[in-house]
Amino acid sequence: MKYLKIKVLILVMLCSSIAMPQQTPANKQTKDIAIMGGTAHIGNGTVIENSIIVISDGKIKTIGNADTTPITLQAMDVIDAKGKDVYPGFIATNTSLGLIEVDAVRASSDKSEIGGLIPNVRSQIAYNAESKVVESMRPNGVLIAQVAPGGGRIAGKSSIMQLDAWNWEDATIKANDGIHLNWPSSFSRGRRWLGEPSGLKPNSDYADQIKEVADFISESKAYLNGNRAVKNLLFLAMEGLFNGTENLYIHVDDEKGITDAVNFAKANDIKNMVVIGGYHAFKVANLLKNNNIPVLLTDTHELPSLEDDDYDLPYKNPKLLADAGVLVGIQNGEPANFQTRNLPFYAGQVVGQGMDKEEALKLITSNTAKILGIDKQLGTLETGKDATLFISEGDALDMRTNKLTHAFINGREISLETHQTELWKRYSDKYKNQ
C-alpha cells in the first residue's frame, strides 16, 4: 500500500515535470481558473468551507461559498479541491533568499556589504532568481519573500520578491521597501587582545553607537532640505524614511534596545518603524502597541536566548505579542536560508501554545503583508487581490499534512518541482528498477 502510494505520487510528479520543466517560470495566466470545494483559509482569521475561488487575469475575481456563489464554469480550468485546503501564498520576511546560495562558500554570498552606514545599497539587484534554494521554498507554500541585506549598522535596502521569475526585475513586487538598521547591542564582547575578559559585558560604546546613527540622520535631513546640487548617495537614500515611502526595519531583541529604538524613531521623525527580532518585545508590548509599531519576530524554532527562560518562550512569543494587541509577523534571518521553507511550521508551532490556527496563519500572511506595506495586493484570499495562493492536501501549518498540489503566483500556475524532487525521482526510479 505504502509503495503503491509512492508510485502514484511519482507518476503525478513525472507528469507535471513533463508539462512544466523544473525552474522554468510559468507563463502569464491566459484562461480563468476555478478552484472548487476547498476549505479556504482567508488569512484574515476567517475560513470559507466548500469554497469557490475564481482566478482571472492574475487576480482573485471571486471568492465565496460554492453553494451561495453563482459561477459559470464554462471556459475555465476547474480544479477540484474537495477535502483540500487553500491558502494565500506565505510571505517570508527578512530573508537572504537569492543572496546566499551556499552559506559556507564565500563566493556564493552577497549578503553583507562593507561601509557601516550604507542605506544606498540594494538587495534587489543581487537577488538570484534562479537559486536552487529559492525554488525549494515553493513546495511548502512560501511564494513571496522580502530579501534583506545584512552588513554593518545601516545595512541597506530590502525588496520584496515573488519566487517564480526569470530575473530579479520580473521577480520584484516592491523595490526598496525599507532600510535595515542593526541596533547597537547592550552587551559587547571583551577585547582579549587588550587584556579584557572574553565574555559578554555591558557595551560601554552603546550611547556613542546610537549617536553615530542619529548624527547620520540629522546630516541626511539637512542635506535633503538643501538644494542637493552635489549628489550625496548616502543622504539621498534616506529620503524614503522621512516621507513615509520606506520602512525603517530596526533589528533589535532586548527590552532596553527596543525602548530606545522606539524613542529614537520618534525623535528622528521616522514615519514607519518595524522591529525585527523582538525576542523581548513582549516586555514592552504596550509601548509598541501605543506607537503602532509592528514586530517581525524571529522564527519560533529557536532556543531560548537566556538559560533561565521558559523552554517554550520562542514557541509562544508571537502569541504574547498578538494577545497584547501588537501587529506581529514571523521572520527568519538566518544565513542558513534553506530553513525559510519551514515558515508554515514556525506559525504552526504557536498553535501548540494556544493560538487559534487562523490567527497563527496571519503571522505569515496578512500581518506580514500589512507590515511590509503590500496588503493591498497580497496577504489574503480576497477579491481583487493577486492570485498568489496554493492548494494543500491538508493543514499547511503542520508538517504532517502540508502537501501542495497546486500553487499560483499572480494566477500563473507555478512548478512545484525542484532540484530536490528531481533527485528524489531519479534515485527512486533507480531502486524501483533494480
Binding site: D103, L200, K201, E307, D308, R400, W424
Partner: protein, 995 residues
C-alpha cells in the same frame, strides 16, 4: 627601647645564621650566637587544637625549642613579654608561583596550526614538561614576600604555572634576610599538573580537556614502559616523570567537574593527586568526597553583581547569581563532610585580599579551628612536612605570628610574622592604642579631637563649636603630630601640634601657631565616647551574622530539583499507545510502569499504590532517542591530531547543561553525544539518558555498547577552516582513505603483537582501533557525499568489519543499495541542505528512500534546538516521501535504538523494557502537540505542571538574590559588572575554545 633591642637581636642573628660553616669570611670575625629567644605570657596555638594559655615559646637557631606553661628559660635568653597576645603558627600557601616569572606567550607566532613538537629528546608533546624544575627559575621576590608576610604567611610552595605537566616546585620560607641556603626547605617539594597547555608552544594537541586527559593517561603508560628499558631512544621527559614519581602530585583542576576528571585520570594511573579546586565543589559534594582526594581551595569569592540596572541584570542566570551567594559556603561544606583541604591565595589578585575572603568563609559557617588547620597543619601534612612546618611543635621552624588576639577576628592586629626565627614587624606591638575622643583647649577655645582608624594609619577629626577643622595626624614611636587649619578658612594656615603618649589617656606636648608662637598642649581622653562606639560595633556584628545561603539544587541551575526525583509506579489510563512493536498503535490502552520498567500493557489495568494518570485523548510513546547530539558536553572536538580515538566524550559530560532539560521538554530521553567532525578518526561517544539532576557519571548508560565517531568530507579536510589551514593531513578525500588504511593497518599489527603475549607498548589509540577490528566497537561516521560513503565501506570490507552507522549521510539515497548490502544503518537530517558545498544534493526525501530500500533509518538533530522537536522532524518523513506515520515515528525512537544496539532496552513500549516514555497532549507527529510528561526508568524528569511552578520559583529566587545584592552594594561593598552567560551550543564543527 625594646624595639631597638630586637633590632640588635636581628642583627646578631644575621651574623650567625647566614654564614655557612664552611664558607670563608672576609668581613669580620666569626661570631656564633647561641642565644635563645623566649616569648612569655602568650596564648600559643601549637596546633589548631593544642592551645596553651599563658605559655612560653622558646626558640633558637630559627626553630622551636619548646612550648608550654612551665618552660625553663635558659639564662642566655632574650625574653620578650607578649602578655595578652596570641601566637599562631604562620600560614602556608601550597599553591603559588612566588618568585617564578610568569611564562609568556611568544610573539610573532605562526597563524597556522602546529601539529608536531618543537623539541627533540623529550616527550612527543611540548605541553608535557616533567623535566622542568622551578628551582632553576626561582628568584626570591622580596616585594611579593612582603605581601604574603602581611597576610600571615610564612611558607609558600611555588612552581612554574604553565603546561600540562609542569615539573617540580619548591617549598620556600618567606625569609627575606637569609639566602636560599636557609629558606629553601625543599627544592623538589611536589610535581604539578593541569589540563591547560603551555603558552610556550603552539602544538595543537591536546585541543580539549578530553585530549588532555587522554594525553596524561598515555604518558603514564609510556613512562612505565620506558622505566622497564623498552625504549630505544632517549626521553628526558619520561625520565624526569619517573624520577618525580615519589613526590606529592598537585593537579590544577579548577572546577568541580575538572576535579573529578583529574581524579579519574589519577585513579586509572595509580596516582592520587592533591587537587586545586574551583570553589563550586559544594554543588555535588558527595562525588567530591568519593574521590578520596585532598583539596587546595582558592577563596576568591565572587563580588555581588551590580544589579541596579534592571535591563542589564535581567540577563543574569540563576546559576551565576546563586554562585555568588553559595560559593563562600564551600569551605564549610568541605569541613562538614570531613574532606581534607588547605587554603591558597591562588586566584586572588593579591594576598592582601586573603583575609577579607577568609573572614567571609568563616561568616558562612567555617569553624575557626578548621580555618587554621587549612592554613597550617593541613598543607604541612599534604606536603609531608608536618615535622617541619605548620605547627609550633618542638623542632619545627620558628614560623609564627604574634597577634593582638583571635587571628580570624576583623579587629585583631597582626603585629609580627616570624619566619625561621627572623622577625618581620607588621605593626609595632608596643604602640599604645591611643584611639578615642579627646578634649583640649587652645587660646581659650575648646576643641574636640577624635582619633580613629588603624593605629598605623590614624585619622583625626577636630571640631570646635560644632565646626570641623581640617586636620591631619601621624603617629609613630610614641609621638603624635597633628596639623589643623585655623578658624579663618580663607587662608592656608596651620596650627601644628606635637605631643607624646607617655602618660596614659592623655597627649602632652606643644602647639605652634602660624605666627610661630608656641603654647603647651594637653588633651584628655574622654571615656564615654568609647562605649557608644562599642555598642555600634556590636550592632554591626549582629547584622553581619545573618547570612542566608540558598539551597543547592540538582543540577544547581534554574529548573534543578531540590531533591532528586524517585521512580514511581505509574498507571496511564486510556492512552493511544504507539508501541513500535507488532501491536502497532493501540487505542484506549493502559500502561503500567513499575520498578523503572514497562510492567503491563492492556485494557482495564489496575495496580495498587500506582499513581493513576488519565491519558484519555493523549498519546503515549517511547521516549525519543537522538543518535547524533552534542549537548551536555564541555568539549566536543579534539582536532589537535587527525586521529583522536584515545579521547572519550564520557570524560567531559556536563551535568548542568540546560539543553538536557530542554530536550526532556521535547520528549527526548536518550542521546548519543558524539565527538565532533574535526578529524577523520574522532573520539569515543557517550550514550546518556537525560536524567536531569543526576551527576555526569550517572547520566551515562551502564554497559552500553561502545561507539566511536568517524568523519568524512569538508570538515576533516579542513575545507572551511580558512586558507591558512593547509598543513594537516589529509586535505582531500583521497588522503582520507589512506589515513584510514594506515591506521587500521597499524592497529592490526599492534593487535597481533598484543594478542601474542609478547611485551608491547600499550597505546590507547590503537587499542580503540583494534576494538573496531575485533567488532567490539561500532563506528558512527559523519558523511555527506556518495563517493566517501562508498569508500569507507570498502575500507571496512578490506579489514573485515562493518560500519555500523552513517550519520548525516545526506547522499545516502544515492548509494542506498550498496549500504543495504554492507548492512549499515543511517541517521540523517530531515531537511537540512545548502549550508555548505558538499550538501548541494542533500534532499529531504533521503530518509524515505533509504527506508524504502530497507536500511534502518533514523532522523537525528546534531543541534540542541532541533533535538527538542525531533517528533516534528520525523513528521517531515511523512511529508517528504510518504513514509507511514508509524514508520516515521520509529525513525526517532526504535530505529536509533537499533543503531545504538540498545533496542533490547529502549525504543518501544514493550513489557520488560525501560520505562522511558512520553505522554503527548496530541498526535506525537503534529507540530501542535507537546510533551506533558517525560519519564525515564519510571522517574518523571519533565512535567509541564512542575515546569510552570519552577518558573515562578525562579522568579522569586532571582528577586531575593537581587535584593541581597543591592543590600551588598548599599553597604559599600565591591560589585562586579553584569555578565551575560553564554553556553556555547556545540555542533560537529565546534572547536574547544577553553584550552
Amino acid at each position: 627601647m625594646i624595639k631597638k633591642y630586637l633590632a640588635l637581636i636581628t642583627l646578631m642573628c644575621t651574623l650567625t645564621l647566614s654564614a655557612q660553616d664552611y664558607f670563608p669570611k672576609n668581613d669580620g670575625v666569626v661570631a656564633n650566637n647561641t642565644n635563645y629567644t623566649a616569648f612569655t605570657n602568650a596564648k600559643i596555638f601549637v596546633t589548631p587544637t593544642q592551645i596553651i594559655e599563658n605559655g612560653t615559646l622558646l626558640i633558637k637557631d630559627g626553630k622551636v625549642v619548646s612550648t608550654g606553661t612551665s618552660v625553663t628559660i635558659p639564662k642566655n635568653s632574650n625574653v620578650i613579654d607578649v602578655l595578652g597576645k596570641s601566637i599562631y603558627p604562620s600560614f602556608i600557601d601550597m599553591y603559588s608561583d612566588f618568585g617564578i616569572e610568569k611564562p609568556k606567550r611568544q610573539s610573532g607566532r605562526s597563524r597556522s596550526a602546529q601539529y608536531d613538537a618543537t623539541r627533540t629528546g623529550y616527550y612527543w608533546n611540548d605541553h608535557v614538561m616533567p623535566e622542568n624544575n622551578a628551582m632553576d627559575k626561582f628568584d626570591f621576590d622580596t616585594k611579593s614576600a612582603k605581601d604574603f608576610l602581611n597576610a600571615g604567611f610564612g611558607v609558600v610552595n611555588t612552581h612554574i604555572q604553565d603546561g600540562i605537566v609542569r615539573g617540580t616546585g619548591l617549598l620556600v620560607a618567606l625569609n627575606s634576610k637569609d639566602g636560599n641556603e636557609m629558606r629553601v626547605l625543599d627544592p623538589n617539594s611536589a610535581q604539578y599538573l593541569s589540563f591547560s597547555k603551555s603558552v610556550l608552544s603552539n602544538q595543537s594537541y591536546p585541543g580539549s580537556i578530553m585530549g588532555s586527559m587522554a594525553l596524561l593517561r598515555q604518558m603514564y603508560l609510556d613512562a612505565d614502559w620506558y622505566s622497564k628499558g623498552n625504549s630505544k631512544t632517549k626521553d628526558l621527559s619520561l625520565e624526569a616523570l619517573n624520577k618525580n614519581k615519589g613526590l606529592v602530585q598537585i593537579f590544577e583542576a579548577g572546577s568541580r567537574a575538572n576535579d573529578l576528571r583529574a581524579d579519574k585520570v589519577g585513579d586509572e594511573s595509580n596516582v592520587q593527586y592533591v587537587i586545586l579546586g574551583g570553589g563550586d565543589e559544594y554543588e555535588r559534594i558527595d562525588n567530591i568526597k568519593a574521590s578520596n582526594a585532598s583539596f587546595i581551595l582558592p577563596i576568591n569569592f565572587p563580588d555581588a553583581y551590580d544589579v541596579e540596572d534592571s535591563f542589564l541584570s535581567s540577563v543574569l542566570s540563576l546559576g551565576d547569581m546563586r554562585a555568588w551567594n553559595q560559593k563562600p559556603s564551600n569551605p564549610k561544606v568541605f569541613a562538614d563532610n570531613n574532606i581534607n583541604f588547605a587554603f591558597t591565595t591562588h586566584d586572588l589578585k593579591s594576598p592582601k585580599e586573603f583575609k577579607s575572603n577568609l573572614m567571609k568563609a568563616i561568616k558562612y559557617g567555617l569553624s575557626k579551628e578548621k580555618a587554621l588547620e587549612a592554613l597550617t597543619t593541613m598543607p604541612a601534612q599534604l606536603l609531608g612536612k608536618s615535622n617541619m612546618i605548620g605547627s609550633l611543635k618542638n623542632g619545627s621552624y620558628a614560623n609564627f605570628l604574634i597577634t593582638s588576639g583571635d587571628v580570624f577576628d576583623e579587629k585583631t592586629t597582626l603585629y609580627e610574622n616570624w619566619v625561621q626565627g627572623r622577625q618581620t614587624i607588621l605593626e609595632d606591638m608596643n604602640t599604645k592604642d591611643i584611639r578615642g575622643d579627646y578634649e583640649f583647649n587652645l587660646a581659650g577655645e575648646t576643641f574636640k579631637l577624635s582619633l580613629k582608624g588603624e593605629l598605623s594609619k590614624l585619622k583625626s577629626e577636630i571640631t570646635s563649636d560644632e565646626k570641623t577643622r581640617g586636620s591631619k595626624v601621624s603617629y609613630s614611636n610614641d609621638w603624635v603630630n597633628i596639623a589643623m587649619t585655623t578658624v579663618d578658612s580663607t587662608k592656608q594656615e596651620f596650627i601644628r601640634i606635637v605631643a607624646n603618649t607617655f602618660q596614659d589617656n592623655s597627649l602632652n606636648g606643644k602647639a605652634t601657631f602660624p605666627s610661630g608662637n608656641e603654647v603647651s598642649f594637653f588633651a584628655k581622653k574622654q571615656e564615654k565616647a568609647n562605649e557608644s562606639e562599642d555598642g555600634k560595633d556590636k550592632k554591626n556584628d549582629k547584622d553581619d551574622k545573618t547570612v542566608t545561603v540558598l539551597p543547592v539544587t540538582y543540577p544547581n541551575v534554574a529548573y534543578g530539583f531540590k531533591e532528586l526525583p524517585k521512580p514511581e509506579t505509574l498507571l496511564f489510563k486510556n492512552a493511544t499507545v504507539w508501541t513500535n512493536e507488532e501491536d502497532g498503535i493501540l487505542e484506549n490502552t493502559d500502561v503500567l510502569i513499575k520498578n523503572g520498567k514497562i510492567d503491563k500493557i492492556g485494557q482495564g489495568l489496575s495496580a495498587l499504590s500506582a499513581t493513576i494518570i488519565d491519558a484519555s485523548g493523549k498519546h503515549l510513546t517511547a521516549g525519543i532517542i537522538d543518535e547524533h547530539s552534542h549537548i551536555a558536553a564541555s568539549s566536543i572536538n579534539e582536532g589537535g591530531q587527525n586521529s583522536s580515538a584515545e579521547v572519550s566524550i564520557e570524560d567531559v559530560i556536563d551535568d548542568t547543561a540546560i539543553s538536557i532539560y530542554r530536550d526532556l521538554a521535547g520528549g527526548v530521553t536518550s542521546v548519543q553525544i558524539l565527538h565532533g567532525s574535526a578529524n577523520p578518526i574522532g573520539g569515543r561517544s557517550a550514550i546518556i539518558k537525560l536524567k536531569w539532576g543526576e551527576s555526569a557519571e550517572n547520566l551515562i548508560y551502564k554497559n552500553s555498547p561502545k561507539y566511536i565517531k568517524f568523519a568524512l568530507g569538508e570538515n576533516v579536510k579542513q575545507s572551511n577552516w580558512g586558507d591558512i589551514e593547509r598543513v594537516r593531513f589529509p586535505q582531500t578525500r583521497m588522503g582520507v582513505e589512506q589515513l584510514y588504511v594506515d591506521y587500521f593497518t597499524r592497529a592490526k599489527e599492534y593487535d597481533i603483537v598484543k594478542k601474542s603475549g609478547k611485551p608491547y607498548r600499550k597505546d590507547i589509540e590503537l587499542d580503540v582501533l583494534a576494538e573496531i577490528l575485533n567488532k567490539e566497537r561500532f563506528i558512527s561516521c559523519h558523511s555527506y557525499v556518495q563517493s566517501e560513503i562508498n569508500m569507507l565501506m570498502k575500507v571496512a570490507d578490506q579489514f573485515n568489519f562493518n560500519i555500523n552507522t552513517f550519520t548525516h549521510i545526506l547522499e545516502g539515497y544515492k548509494v542506498a543499495d550498496k549500504m543495504k548490502a554492507h548492512g549499515v544503518g543511517a541517521s540523517t537530517f530531515s531537511d537540512w541542505w545548502a549550508y555548505k558545498f558538499e550538501v548541494n544534493d542533500a534532499i529531504p526525501y533521503n530518509a524515505a528512500i533509504m527506508h524504502n530500500v530497507g536500511i534502518v533509518t533514523a532522523i537525528n538533530s546534531d543541534d540542541a534546538e532541533m533535538s527538542r522537536r525531533l517528533n516534528q522532524e520525523a513528521a517531515k518523513a511523512v511529508k517528504y516521501g510518504g513514509v507511514s506515520e508509524e514508520d516515521a515515528w520509529k525513525m526517532v525512537t526504535l530505529n536509533p535504538a537499533k543503531l545504538l544496539h540498545l533496542d533490547n532496552r529502549v525504543g518501544s513500549i514493550k513489557v520488560g523494557k525501560d520505562a522511558d516514555v512520553v505522554l503527548w497532549n496530541g498526535h506525537p507527529l503534529s507540530v501542535y502537540s507537546k510533551a506533558e510528561k517525560t519519564i525515564i526508568e519510571g522517574v518523571t524528569y519533565f512535567d509541564l505542571n512542575r515546569d510552570s511552578e519552577a518558573r515562578e520559583q525562579i522568579k522569586e529566587e532571582k528577586s531575593e538574590l537581587i535584593n541581597m545584592m543591592l543590600q551588598e552594594k548599599n553597604k559599600g561593598l565591591k560589585t562586579q559588572p553584569i555578565k551575560k552567560k553564554e553556553k556555547e551550543l556545540m555542533t560537529c564543527d565546534t572547536i574547544d575554545q577553553t584550552n
